[in-house]
Subunit: 246 residues, 2 copies
DNA sequence: AACATTCTAATGTCAGGACAAACTATTGAC
DNA sequence: GTCAATAGTTTGTCCTGACATTAGAATGTT
């Protein structure tokens, strides 16, 4: 078979060996060195070729299987999954997604306040009575075209937030700089009809379709950091994801 | 601390040890034995208590972290994250979801044919020219109320499908019985406005909001098995999921 | 009292080995 | 020639052991 994966493992690098393998195989699939549908060599030989132990090799493959790039079958082997299966939905913000895509998003801060959280928000963020939060609404545009209308509530005991930072940086960037390590988020995606408030802001007509998303994000200490309600123009945004059977 | 997790590991069971641990901890979180925010004992002690090796214990915890129930932090420990964080979106069908929920879904088969695939479907399922597929539209109701309008294309070289089976069983059930082991699916969720065809079938008015979902499912041999386009009434359905940072 | 240093506890990474289970393909029997 | 038993390949599970890295607490110094 002579796969010639051409992976180079740098044992002096701080990035873990299994992750170097993940990156290498991802790159090979992306550049077409590994064609969709082709079979990989077996784990043991691959590990031997790279001077790695099998557990390390397996850990790398586990990740690739989980992310939907590979499919394994006992007694048969490991295959590069077909094709145009896209990236899984990742824990990132809209701002990141757009930036990575080469677009240049801009943000209008429509309202901003530092106020006492009401009962619903306290429940969502698991805050005690009397706690204060940042509450703000933003309009995100890309290429001058409005794309999303976002309303968020953020706990105030992590880092200070002000209007100017929000206009220039994106919420998740601010929070990460403030030392927040996001770990997970639960979200709900649905649909609604644009109302008279939303329609002009999104430069569409009342009655057009919007994608809705509610999200609550948790950091590595288990705190609920942020909750929000976003709406997107259905003609310019949709959620893509890959589900993996376990 | 004396966690008293009260897990029992059955070494004679065919279910893997790490999975027994996963189930046990899931149950403990679900029943409230492990409270949200509480810290678990460290991996090594837990493994010792259950007479398991640390890698096995870690594998169990990895899964729980991935599913969003636990949060780990190096040098600190492992915490129950929960609260109302919901289940991740799983690779299952609407029929399964509803059945597991105690509801009793019914299905009307609106159209059914066994026809030659057009170019778009051949591309989505990666079929050669001239290949035939099953093509059908279904209306899914729960409690007599219409919920989803589904149009699907399924390759015909796996198992035979007929109208009667579709009306009584759910597509994924039929395919699983036919020997298909689903591995992953890529899907896209968006929104649209109900048109004159969809509205009466879903017993709503033209212009109301619908959630749209396009999905292509892949089995363990890497074959694209099924692709479809579904629309749901936005007032009765939304997609919930948990995203985990890696 | 404030600060830097050291220590400890916990998770993160990696190795090497052993056996089990599932699928494929070949071989053998009828 | 068809079908069943068998052997071989590959992934799945599990073990023991070791060291690295990080976060936070305790300690000591100024």
């Amino acid at each position: 078979m002579a796969n010639q994966l051409n992976l180079r493992i740098d044992r002096s690098s701080p990035v873990p060996l299994y992750h170097q393998v993940v990156q290498g195989i991802e790159a090979a699939i992306h550049t077409g060195v590994l064609e969709p549908g082709s079979r990989l060599e077996n784990e043991i030989d691959l590990a031997a070729q790279l001077n790695l132990s099998r557990p390390t090799m397996r850990k790398a493959m586990d990740e690739l299987v989980r992310s939907g790039l590979l499919v394994r079958k006992r007694g048969v082997g490991t295959q590069v999954v077909s094709s145009q299966v896209r990236r899984p939905l990742e824990l990132s913000s809209l701002y990141d997604d757009l930036s990575n895509n080469g677009s240049k998003p801009t943000t209008d801060v429509l309202s901003f306040s530092h106020e006492e959280a009401d009962a619903a928000i306290r429940k969502a963020l698991q805050l005690p009575a009397g706690a204060k939060v940042y509450h703000f609404a933003r309009l995100r545009k890309v290429g001058g075209k409005p794309l999303a209308l976002m309303e968020n509530w953020v706990r105030d005991d992590i880092t200070a937030i002000d209007e100017a930072a929000l206009a220039s940086q994106g919420l998740y960037g601010i929070l990460r700089n403030g030392g927040v390590n996001f770990r997970l988020a639960s979200q709900r995606i649905g649909a609604m009809i644009a109302n008279d408030y939303q329609a002009p802001l999104l430069e569409t007509t009342a009655g057009s379709a919007l994608v809705t998303m509610e999200r609550t994000a948790v950091d590595d200490t288990g705190r609920m950091v942020e909750t929000g309600h976003h709406v997107y123009r259905a003609d310019s945004y949709s959620f893509e994801m890959t589900l993996v059977q376990r």
